[in-house]
Symmetry: C2
């Protein structure tokens, strides 16, 4: 059976003033009327029902995640007492799932990305599961064909083509590459054999557990007791979890493994890393403006406008701005400064304005 | 005795989203913590006490004006049932004041201008009153020495110097000029004998009534009955008021009269005609930004930021913008588009968003 494990632990300061300590990016309705996390679960409808969806989140967000995701059983919203990167939480999820369904296939999905259209995405997941019918031990990752020399993503270097399903090729992975600088990103794009690493993985629960045992034995040794504690007490013991190695599944397992397969993504994908990314995922008006919420624009071009339901943003004559309104704060910046929102958040923190964060 | 007549009838759409149908410019705390109208009354403290202050306003604003100006007797906040420009309301005020104090001197003051410093302004009013000791019939207007070729103000052409008080000259007025176009404004500035017409006048109540009788006999004939009605009923009868000629005191009286005197203003003055004007009347930071309310700026220059007490505006990297937040709407425009706020208000109206206006 196909299970979904949704990684929803991110805090994120790049969406201030929408995102807050208590309202991380995955809980924001950035692109649709629903929070990104809810869209991520909805996107699985018909393929993975709520009873096979598992969400790993920060303890601070667990209650609001449970309130949001009514179709997901409460105990499948797993609250991490502290963040240990992705390998520990994927290992724990795999342990819990494989006990219930030893033949389980897991799709690991980021909670806060934009993926379209859902049908094509579901076909892609089903295709990955089909690859696992023949290559049971494979660790599958989806590669996104780059459309620009992005510096904000990790890259996957494709090796030999291993086969095709429905005409979609899958490849051996030669290497994973860290986020490149601008020059290297241009080289990757020109080379043609590099794909963006979307952080979407499919593998058998048993397979990832075997690989954790091989590549991260210390983590593997700790997982059964953590799973026991979670089943018995409904919570992960913090002291034990804190002792786990802090390591990503990419670095800890995928980069060290020989049987990693990349499936070319047939869906469109964006990680919506900052407000500037909304321009790629929202519909635009004739002047290139986009946004969510109420706005009235007069001779304004290429702006990104984010407001609430009860507040209208009016622009006159401006170009290339990001304007975001929340109840207690408004952000105005140039689209090219979207990444500097983190810097602004630090400035607010340093000025003792933590109540805004 | 010196009385003050404050003209507070303006509606004004150039300060949206701060100003609203029910909250005109004079009621906004644009420059200090207090509404411009309150500052205008406070500026007279020590020279003209509340019991000699008269405010002429729109019936829609009368209650909020009375609530704001606790020191002004309620019946001296005169509600106009409809606007008839300045000559009728100055005539009515002069009638009411001269009945109470036949030797009264009236200072007519716009409610929504910024004037500094109060002591110098009071000296200027006292100086005007002193001119009237010798020239009882004179109509005095204050001329502001232009600092730029402004197209938004009327101009006064100075004639012969008539004398000096404390070293400050006063002049015969040769002509009043309408708001000029840019070329004419530059000529006025270069010529050196043109001053801005601040709309601040000083004259004896009896003198302005005699001049209204001479230049606007139809208005003069209607004033006694209107004053009677106001004293007896506490309200101006709308049908009678609506029949008055709609005419300004500048055009109806000053431009037609021979004994008009211009006193050079020793105070600084700004009519704060739009948000862009705030840059002239508010203190600036080292990067040229100014504003009221809460803001946090990161590499932002020459912006005008207006927010409330409970909302923070954050800017990154932007230059030359006006950003104004109110509860239900936010405006972002370039400083050079400040006058287009009226256009935006029309657009909102046409889109059926009158609840925002």
């Amino acid at each position: 059976m196909l299970h979904a494990v949704i990684m929803a632990g991110g805090a994120g300061t790049r969406f201030w003033p929408m995102s807050r300590a208590a309202l991380p990016k995955q809980m924001l309705a950035l692109v649709t009327e629903r929070p990104l996390l809810a869209d991520t679960v909805d996107r699985l409808e018909g393929l993975v029902p709520g009873e096979r969806v598992h969400v790993i989140t920060n303890a601070a967000y667990a209650d609001s995640v449970r309130a949001l995701l009514r179709g997901v059983p409460a105990h499948q919203v797993v609250a991490e007492p502290c963040g240990r990167d992705t390998a520990p939480c994927i290992g724990l999820a795999a342990t819990l799932i494989s006990r219930r369904d030893p033949a389980a296939v897991m799709a690991v999905l980021p909670a806060d990305h934009v993926v379209h259209p859902p049908q094509v995405f579901q076909q892609a997941l089903a295709r990955a599961a089909a690859v696992l019918e023949e290559r049971a031990g494979a660790l599958i990752t989806f590669g996104i064909t780059p459309t620009r020399p992005a510096v904000g993503y990790g890259y996957i270097e494709r090796g030999a083509e291993l086969g095709r399903l429905d005409g979609v090729p899958f490849f051996k992975v030669d290497s994973f590459r860290e986020k490149p600088n601008a020059r290297v990103a241009r080289d990757f794009l020109a080379a043609g054999r590099f794909s963006w690493n979307a952080g979407i993985f499919v593998f058998r629960a048993q397979a990832i557990l075997e690989r954790i045992e091989r590549h991260l034995p210390e983590l593997a040794a700790a997982l059964p007791a953590l799973a026991d504690a979670y089943v018995q007490q409904g919570a992960i013991p913090e002291s034990a979890y804190r002792r786990l190695p802090r390591i990503s599944i990419d670095y800890g397992v995928f980069e060290r493994d020989e049987d990693v397969v990349m499936l070319e993504a047939s869906f469109t994908w964006d990680d919506v890393g900052s407000f500037a990314a909304l321009e790629r995922v929202l519909p635009k008006d004739a002047q290139g403006n986009c946004g969510v919420g109420l706005s009235t624009l007069l001779d304004a071009r290429r702006n990104i406008v984010v407001s609430g339901r009860n507040h209208r943003i009016a622009l006159i004559g401006v170009e290339g701005l990001i304007v975001v309104h929340s109840d207690d704060a408004t952000l105005v910046c140039r689209a090219e400064d979207a990444e500097r929102v983190k810097e602004l958040v630090n400035l607010l923190q340093s000025k003792g304005l933590a109540d805004l964060l």
